[in-house]
Symmetry: C2
Subunit: 235 residues, 2 copies
């Protein structure tokens, strides 16, 4: 019997076997939870089947929480917990509630004094930081860089300043079809001695985590087009 709480259940980020990236505890837990709040029902069904091929998917309830969900509908998703049933949150890839709408559900649970239990799983942000060799004592995750040219140039200058003055590692992402252009842009906009780490397909079959000075990236052959990739900058 597991306690009636809100369980934040990381999912696999690639086609890696679940046992490569998730503790056995998580894999057993998903067989005990009946009520799920998910970003995408189809990918969640597939994920649950991979955790437990014998799982009875039809016995489960799935409520969608994505960027189109009306915030007013979020608190009702916690209702099973009041009835003594745990609720699991699963996002499309990686850790729920870190960069997706699950955070609203967690906030609603916290407001109501409902216990929230995050589970261990793959976080591309932390794994990229581990593999970069950059400062992990202080770092910032910036999400997507702005697309507007002026705001984008300002953001790059701000990151450069924070690296110099605070020694704060700067982490960010880009729409995957712009990955290659972004690297070229960083090479032409920032000091050539600054180091860039490109962490691509984390936990996947083509995983690559490469740290080089921008001067070396400018001469290197690479192709990260459409691959899930995280970028990190440091002096």
């Amino acid at each position: 019997m597991i306690s009636p709480a809100l369980y934040l259940i990381p999912s696999t980020m690639s086609d890696a076997p679940a046992t490569n990236v998730l503790p056995q505890f998580n894999i057993e837990l998903v067989s005990e939870i009946r009520h799920y709040v998910v970003e995408n029902v189809r990918t969640t069904r597939r994920f649950l089947k991979r955790c437990n091929p014998a799982i009875d998917i039809d016995a489960l309830t799935f409520t969608v929480l994505d960027e189109h969900t009306d915030p007013a509908e979020v608190p009702a998703m916690l209702a099973p917990i009041a009835g003594g049933h745990p609720v699991g949150v699963i996002s499309e890839a990686g850790c729920p509630a870190v960069a997706d709408p699950g955070a609203d559900l967690v906030a609603a649970a916290q407001e109501r004094g409902i216990e929230v239990i995050p589970l261990v799983g793959p976080s591309s942000i932390i794994m990229a930081l581990m593999g970069s060799g950059f400062n992990g004592q202080t770092f910032a995750f910036n999400g997507y860089l702005p697309h507007d040219a002026k705001a984008r140039a300002e953001k790059l200058r701000e990151m450069e300043r924070l690296i110099r003055s605070r020694r704060q590692t700067q982490i960010f992402i880009e729409t995957p079809y712009r990955n290659n252009r972004l690297i070229a842009e960083l090479c032409s906009s920032l000091p050539s001695g600054m180091r860039l780490c490109v962490a691509s397909d984390i936990t996947g079959p083509t995983q690559e985590i490469i740290t080089l000075p921008l001067a070396a990236w400018a001469k290197k052959k690479y192709n990260y087009d459409k691959k899930p990739t995280i970028f990190l900058l440091y002096s």
Copy 2:
């Protein structure tokens, strides 16, 4: 046969069983690696025994990398890899190379073009962020708050500004015997409507992740004295 690379192996953060917080892949991997770079030999031996009670500890080599290590000695720790042998990095608790000297070893590996492979494991920073309900689209980990009163007051004002202007979740830690005093200080220094999440003993038997407005913390009974705790602020 595992490839000769630098493996970053998270360790358990509490007395939780290894299978609760580490993928089976990690548990099997530690039985195949012979060369370790570790923050603390005693805790690493205990960790390895818990992963595999049959492990032959005497067949392993341990090199210490801690805050007292001469940086000039770090690159030599990669020597087994050139000979075809993988090297594992294990820090005292949680993810190596995120907030410990392991990052220097990773940087040395990156400079030499040696493959770096981070494994999945418990990160108290990410798990606290998941459980907080705060913004995970942009967040900063600030390490320890300064102890000097003036620098500390400035840091609090800066975090308040970044929360308001950037909606950037602010994450930080404190020397554990000062945890209770820090909460009182935050209550008296910052706006009462700002929300504080206190995430304590993550993955441990007394795990508690509580988000409340500072006004509610000011009235609440709590005791986080000497417990490993992460603090998060958001509006």
